[in-house]
């Protein structure tokens, strides 16, 4: 098992750190895989612009800001990914004619940005108390030149690889919500990555549960 530059085995995730309620918005959270960090803030259900107003549900507005440079088509695609992934999960029918604004800001970029953004959005929505019928965790992996599946790649590990995959699963039925696979790969490789990332996603859900539990213990001052 060729170990990687930072001595990780091929299927270990970089250390995850989650902090919530760090901004003055309704809900905010930061999620990081090692040196990749994304901060996400949620404001809502709040007043909506007349032209975006929907009569039966809340309008979900997503803004993604890159770390360097002005937002381009790459960030517009990330906005589309976040909105389509979370539109199915947020119970927007409970707050018609309102807007739920999600703003995601890249703080440190060391690979797997969209996966970190999806996890940060989940934690920010939980922090804001937005009603959801499920929560979403995402993880990326690459298939390196020598056909090895490396989980949670860093920026360096994403250069000249055979293919790059990002999966997002929901918690209850751990079925696939979002998937983006690029490069050249066979069916078996794809479904291998699917299984590995599915297992990794449940590990991330445990980390999320831990973060919520710690916060509640702090709030209710009960030592576990």
């Amino acid at each position: 098992m060729a170990t990687r530059a930072d001595k990780r085995s091929s299927s270990t995730i970089r250390p995850i750190s989650i902090t919530t309620s760090l901004l003055s918005r309704d809900g905010s959270a930061s999620f990081s895989f090692g040196n990749t960090k994304v901060i996400c803030s949620v404001n809502g259900p709040a007043e909506v612009k007349l032209r975006d107003e929907k009569l039966d549900k809340a309008t979900i507005d997503v803004v993604v800001r890159p770390l360097v440079g002005t937002p381009g088509t790459k960030d517009k695609t990330h906005e589309y990914i976040l909105r389509s992934t979370f539109e199915g999960v947020i119970q927007s029918g409970l707050h018609p004619r309102t807007q739920i604004q999600i703003v995601s800001q890249v703080m440190m970029d060391d690979g797997s940005i969209i996966a970190a953004a999806i996890n940060a959005t989940t934690m920010a929505l939980i922090d804001a108390g937005i009603p959801m019928k499920d929560i979403v965790a995402a993880i990326s992996c690459v298939i390196s030149k020598d056909d090895q599946i490396l989980l949670d790649p860093t920026l360096q590990e994403m250069e000249n690889v055979k293919s790059f995959h990002t999966f997002a699963f929901n918690k209850t039925s751990s079925s696939l919500l979002f998937c983006e696979s690029l490069g050249l790969f066979t069916d078996d490789q794809y479904f291998n990555c699917y299984e590995i990332c599915n297992a990794a996603a449940s590990a991330i859900f445990e980390k999320m549960r831990e973060a919520v539990t710690n916060k509640l213990q702090e709030e209710y001052h009960i030592e576990s």
Partner: protein, 277 residues
């Protein structure tokens, strides 16, 4: 488009009364700054500054480009200060608001026009290749005085930034990666620091580093940009109540002491970072 949170008349009157009696909600003296927190990122040129609850991130990056025709031997510094809906909920992405124009103009004068960074040193091959330094400012949370926090973030990020080392043989330019040669810092002439004042009751009462609630009821504001050698780089007083000369001179005294204190804070954070490396 979420309306900016408006406070009630009761709150406004109370804060104004407090300022008249020299009292502030967070028990600060009228000339005191809030707690400043500066953390540097794992990568070079990344600085996150918290000024009370106001939080700004500055990221510096560089690339090789062709110089402008009229300045063939000078590098370039570009500043991106787009207000993010994270800190300003009522901002429409795309259309810069009036506040954004004011903030970016003051920061432009403070960092670019004040010649704080030596642009001649950024030249690689005259009118062929020069370094273009880019500072991206991200406003994460706004509890008043976004300008001072942004200026501290930009200056500390520029001081913390290292660009790759290069060797030039005639036309040939080789850029060494960080592993090969340790990277080179930017040459910083001086550190311009912004100090913002808010004025109430036609300039009779002055407050330094106003919070968001104080900003909502101020009648005038002034931002002085100066460095530790007591030299004023820029002074922006955009409208608001007319001020007597004595007030401005009095403010400049306060500004110099505050600027010195802030520069010390930045220097301390930089030294702490260096010792950690």
């Amino acid at each position: 488009m979420v309306k900016e949170f408006e406070s009630s008349i009761n709150e406004k009157d109370f804060i104004l009364q407090g300022i008249k009696e020299g009292l502030r909600l967070d028990n600060r003296d009228k000339y005191d700054f809030r707690q400043i927190g500066i953390t540097f990122g794992p990568d070079y040129g990344r600085s996150e500054v918290t000024l009370g609850n106001t939080r700004v991130l500055a990221k510096v990056s560089c690339e090789v480009t062709r110089p402008y025709q009229d300045r063939p031997a000078e590098g370039m510094i570009t500043l991106n200060t787009e207000l993010s809906p994270m800190a300003f909920p009522s901002v429409e992405p795309g259309r810069p608001s009036e506040e954004e124009i004011l903030v970016s103009r003051i920061l432009e004068k403070a960092i670019k026009r004040s010649r704080s960074i030596d642009t001649e040193g950024l030249c690689i091959v005259a009118n062929e290749k020069v370094w273009s330094i880019r500072v991206d400012m991200h406003f994460l949370d706004h509890d008043g005085n976004i300008i001072d926090a942004a200026c501290i973030a930009a200056i500390s990020a520029l001081a913390h930034f290292r660009r790759p080392d290069i060797t030039v043989i005639g036309e040939e330019v080789t850029i060494h990666s960080i592993e090969q040669r340790n990277p080179v810092p930017l040459s910083i002439h001086h550190m311009p620091i912004c100090v913002t004042f808010a004025f109430f009751e036609n300039g009779e009462y002055v407050v330094v580093d106003p919070t968001l609630q104080e900003e909502q009821i101020r009648q005038g504001d002034m931002t002085m940009t100066l460095n530790v050698h007591k030299e004023i780089c820029a002074l922006s007083k955009a409208g608001g109540t007319p001020l007597k000369m004595e007030t401005i001179i009095n403010c400049s005294q306060i500004a110099t002491t505050r600027a010195k204190w802030i520069t010390e804070q930045i220097q301390a954070a930089l030294d702490a970072e260096k010792s950690k490396k």
